[in-house]
């Protein structure tokens, strides 16, 4: 077992007495005060997350854009530089290597942000695909730190604290900005369903961002609320809703896959077949009729037969309702299908619903 790593913001977490746990090889803050308070700070005001554990991989070289187009499910060739695009890298069989953000820097430079738990796997897989392309793959994960500033007041707060006006930075675009003489890459992206920004910088510079925002009253939020927030916005998490056992079609994420528009990408053939034949399984929303908490791994039944399993579930903080996402057999995936979730010794009744648990509050213009 390798040693547990610490992010450059670790001293702040211990000083705030955060509850720390190992996540993806890093000692990360789960919660500082309560998950509810941190969750609501992001929904109603502004919160910030240390997400320095996330992976940053740079694709450099003459074929950078062409190469990323080949390993990525979503459309990038027609998008302007400065755009961020969400999508997947797939195995030939259509299952998911990882979900990622693609930052289109220029023809010869594309910046990939991948899941912390998948950095080594992704890097090795990407390098394996480079044959025939003039590209160099550089894993910069150890060089970069990242703070996500999320919530309806994120833009105002950043302007107030740093004098930086991000009102012109539109949804899913990025730029390089100077703060206090240091350069940061900032995108209008996030993982909470709220407006907000992700700020990437060097391990030396990021503590300045965190400290100033903290002094200005931005609520530090741990990975606990990061999960409850992304869940309510029905954003998938690798290892839960998506994995190397499921395709983006079954996961209900077809809008990030351009099988018709793109000439080729790894896994396209398998997805075309799946679309033609229909998926056996689907990720759906589930709501329970009575108070109980459907958690990951709990079985889902239709009548006496197990038809699936919960991938993520909570007593939703914003909605105060027991809701979940579940991977279930196609025959039980229709809206309003009556199901039961096995919770300890009880069979708790519920129904299949859409995953639009909460309206997303993105600033899209």
């Amino acid at each position: 077992m390798s040693e547990i790593k610490e992010t450059c913001l670790h001293p702040f977490h211990t000083e705030l007495h955060a509850r720390m746990e190992e996540f993806a090889g890093y000692d990360m803050p789960i919660v500082y005060t309560t998950i509810q308070a941190e969750h609501l700070a992001v929904r109603n005001d502004v919160g910030m997350f240390d997400v320095s554990h996330m992976g940053e991989i740079e694709v450099r070289g003459k074929d950078a854009l062409k190469f990323v187009d080949y390993i990525f499910t979503n459309e990038i060739l027609s998008k302007p530089f400065g755009k961020v695009v969400y999508g997947f890298m797939l195995y030939e069989n259509g299952t998911i290597v990882d979900d990622l953000l693609v930052y289109l820097v220029n023809q010869e430079n594309v910046f990939l942000v991948v899941n912390a738990s998948n950095i080594a796997k992704d890097y090795a897989w990407i390098v394996e695909q480079t044959e025939g392309f003039d590209v160099t793959i550089v894993n910069l994960s150890e060089e970069y730190s990242e703070v996500a500033v999320q919530g309806p007041n994120a833009e105002t707060k950043i302007k107030e604290v740093f004098g930086l006006d991000l009102s012109e930075l539109s949804f899913f675009t990025f730029g390089r900005f100077l703060i206090n003489g240091d350069e940061y890459l900032i995108s209008r992206t996030g993982y909470t369903g709220e407006d907000g920004f992700e700020i990437y910088g060097s391990n030396l510079d990021i503590p300045f961002i965190w400290e100033k925002l903290h002094l200005a009253g931005v609520t530090p939020c741990g990975l606990g609320s990061r999960d409850t927030l992304r869940f309510e916005a029905a954003l998938p998490l690798y290892g839960h809703e998506i994995s190397d056992q499921i395709s983006p079609i079954s996961a209900g994420l077809k809008i990030f896959v351009r099988v018709e528009e793109k000439s080729d990408f790894i896994g396209k053939g398998s997805l075309l077949k799946e679309i033609e034949l229909g998926s056996d399984k689907k990720v759906v929303g589930i709501e329970l009729n009575e108070k109980a908490i459907p958690r990951q791994g709990y079985p889902v039944f239709m009548g006496d037969e197990q038809v699936g399993v919960i991938t993520t579930g909570y007593l939703s903080i914003s909605l105060d309702k027991p809701i979940a996402m579940a991977l279930i057999d196609k025959k039980a995936s229709k809206k309003d299908t009556q199901i039961f979730v096995g919770i300890r010794k009880k069979m708790v009744p519920g129904f299949v619903r859409d995953k639009k648990f909460l309206k997303k509050n993105y600033k899209t213009n």
Binding site: T34, I35, Q36, K291, A292, I293, Y314, L315, I343, R344
Partner: protein
């Protein structure tokens, strides 16, 4: 520092037991247990009339992130549950020793001898 109340009996799975009268006890979870859980959002209790067995799970207390089993420190039959906890699970965090969960009629009163004293429990969570 977790609070411990003198005069109660304690289990290794962090439940407290208060002897109400001959053969009747009240059961809850300790302050230490609630502090480990974080904010309690749901308490899942069985119905009155349910038979309990010592060291067997009877319900769960759930935080946002996780469900923790409740383990019965005694054998017997549930006479009453604390309905207040269904609507206000946060009472467990506010005062774990007031937020009782079950009133139980013991079937094996001698089992009380197997539980710890406040001093022994303090040693356990030290």
């Amino acid at each position: 520092m977790s609070k411990i109340v003198e005069g109660l009996l304690y289990s290794e799975s962090h439940e407290w037991v208060k002897v109400e009268s001959e053969g009747i006890v009240i059961v809850g979870i300790t302050d230490y247990a609630q502090s480990q859980l974080g904010s309690v959002v749901f308490v899942d209790l069985p119905e009155a009339g349910t038979k309990l067995q010592r060291e067997v799970e009877f319900g769960a207390v759930e935080s946002v992130k996780a469900a923790s089993d409740l383990i019965s420190p005694v054998s017997g039959e549930i006479m009453e549950i604390n309905e207040d906890l269904i609507g206000e699970p946060e009472l467990v965090n506010e005062d774990a020793f007031s937020a009782w969960m079950l009133k139980v009629e013991l079937s094996k009163p001698e089992e009380l001898d197997k539980l710890m004293s406040a001093a022994q429990y303090a040693e356990l969570i030290k």
